[in-house]
């Protein structure tokens, strides 16, 4: 009897040691070996590995962003466990997507390397949190909360607006269903960036022909993708539609800049695409045809220092444009910097609309 017990214990102990040893070494292997020996060898994520291998981050190891099986805590371990289970069951798991908490975890890793972009983002309006967006009393009183809010902020949230905030009415008082979300960013890095996407690693030019360095440059693709909540997919900004905008019947010329197409997905006019409606800021008047990014820096959105890039060399009025009567100098000015036109200020000249006023 005793002997049986002893053997069982011994077998168990050996099994345990073998198990621990193999897990330990598996784990070490996982964290150090090249991705195409580990991550890539599981078909569940082979397409992610493929898309990664042509990206500008291709030199990095998966764990730089995704962490190790243990570093993200139990949740991630459970998920990887499920992957193995499905693998053994030979069930195909297509289209693995990260959930919102993983998106935010990954973002903390972006910050490690891209501290300056992060700092700029933090200083601008795009670092708005769930609290800022969903508990804004003025907004909630004028605008009925609805399912569509999550298209432009909170795009990674798994659930509906009703799962974010209650009550869904214009009376309030409102509160977040999950108080932990209050401080989470509603427009994280991944709202505008895709990592598993085509990109190029920076390379030094060929110095043997210094004069041709400029001509060695090629037109590069933009570094921006828009996260489409409906499709749960990023769309490269080049592939986004260019805004068609109208003033009545007149079609406003709009910049060809792909980066602007990303902005206008959220800073968009109403369904009839009438200029100046809803959140539209498309340049018209004196700045017609410019892209948002001619004035606004990425991340900080700052446009304070932009005027000197173009003015006063081409100022018609022989004045310092920064002191003229526009919203740049004074937010209360009637001359919105996005669409002020000559005739708004020169009403007495031969301008038809100016004379009507």
């Amino acid at each position: 009897m005793k002997k049986i017990l002893f053997t069982t214990l011994l077998v168990l102990a050996i099994l345990f040691i073998v198990g621990a040893l193999s897990f330990g070494s598996f784990y070490a292997y996982w964290n150090t070996a090249s991705p195409d020996r580990t991550c890539a060898s599981c078909h569940e994520i082979s397409s992610s590995v493929k898309s990664f291998s042509g990206s500008s981050h291709q030199k990095m190891h998966c764990k730089e962003c995704h962490g190790t099986a243990l570093s993200n805590g139990l949740h991630s371990l459970k998920e990887k466990g499920m992957m193995v289970v499905n693998h053994i069951r030979e069930e195909r798991v297509e289209d693995i997507r990260m959930n919102e908490s993983q998106v935010l975890n990954v973002m903390e890793n972006c910050v490690r390397c891209h501290a300056s972009e992060y700092a700029n983002w933090k200083s601008g309006g795009h670092s708005a949190t769930y609290k800022d967006i969903f508990l804004d009393v003025t907004h909630n009183q004028t605008e009925q909360l609805n399912f569509d809010c999550l298209r432009c902020h909170g795009m990674f949230f798994e659930g509906t607006t009703a799962d974010v905030v209650e009550p869904i009415n214009t009376q309030g008082p409102w509160k977040l269903k999950d108080p932990k979300k209050a401080g989470q960013p509603a427009i994280p890095c991944l709202a505008c960036h895709q990592v598993h996407a085509d990109g190029a690693i920076a390379q030094a030019p060929d110095y043997s022909k210094p004069a041709s360095i400029f001509y060695q440059r090629t037109d590069s693709v933009s570094k921006v993708s828009f996260y489409d909540r409906h499709e749960k997919e990023h769309i490269r900004s080049e592939m986004l539609p260019k805004l068609k905008l109208f003033e009545g019947e007149y079609q406003v010329p709009v910049s060809e800049d792909p980066l602007m197409r990303n902005c206008t997905q959220c800073h968009a006019p109403n369904g009839w695409h009438q200029a100046g409606t809803s959140d539209d800021r498309t340049p018209r008047g004196v700045h017609q045809g410019l892209s948002c990014t001619s004035c606004h820096e990425p991340h900080s959105n700052n446009a304070r220092n932009s005027c000197v890039k173009c003015h006063p060399a081409i100022s018609n009025c022989k004045l310092d444009v920064t002191t003229m009567n526009t919203t740049y100098a004074n937010p209360k000015s009637p001359n919105n910097i996005h669409w002020v036109s000559c005739k708004d200020c020169h009403k007495n000249q031969k301008s038809k609309i100016g004379n009507e006023k």
């Binding site: 070494s25 070490a28 805004l243």
Partner: protein
Amino acid sequence: MERNKLSRRHFIQMSAFGVGSLLLFPQCSPQLRKSSWRFFSVEEAFLMDTIVEQIIPTDEWMGARDAGVTNFIDKQLVGPYVRFQEKYRNGLSAIQSSCHILFRKPFEELSWDEQTGFLKMMETGKLSQTLESRDPSQKGEKIWENNFDRSFFNLVCDHTMQGFYGSPRHGGNKDYVSYRMIGLDYPFTIGQNRYKS
């Protein structure tokens, strides 16, 4: 001494490494995998690419091949379209047997016009009326039974359309090519309601 210790530890590490990887990666090694596709073999996928490109050829817009239609069909065949698996396996193999009889070449190596001509024969059901197997064991048997050439062509054609015009989520319509081609702006640009604006 110090050195000795290190290398022993190293040895244990390395052997544990070996055991571990053997235990946990037996079917994961890339050489053992047959195809990077889900259902198709590499050859079948190549043939599919050629066929769908005939159905929607590349012009100033990318055609069905570059739009990922083969990927779409492959993905559906292990999902909602499992019931068509057999049809595809038989159909693709019948196409190659027919091409060998008629042209002594696989389909992909035919000229563009020959390919078009061949598919037209399928579409009109000509192959099932005429072609007999050359395989001695199946002498006299038809390669395409009961108008299968026609029905298989129509099946591929339908699936090509679905892959090309459906949502990229399902595996085709890469970069929304068909939406852009027909002038449909996707995603729709619509701002939030601003009743007070």
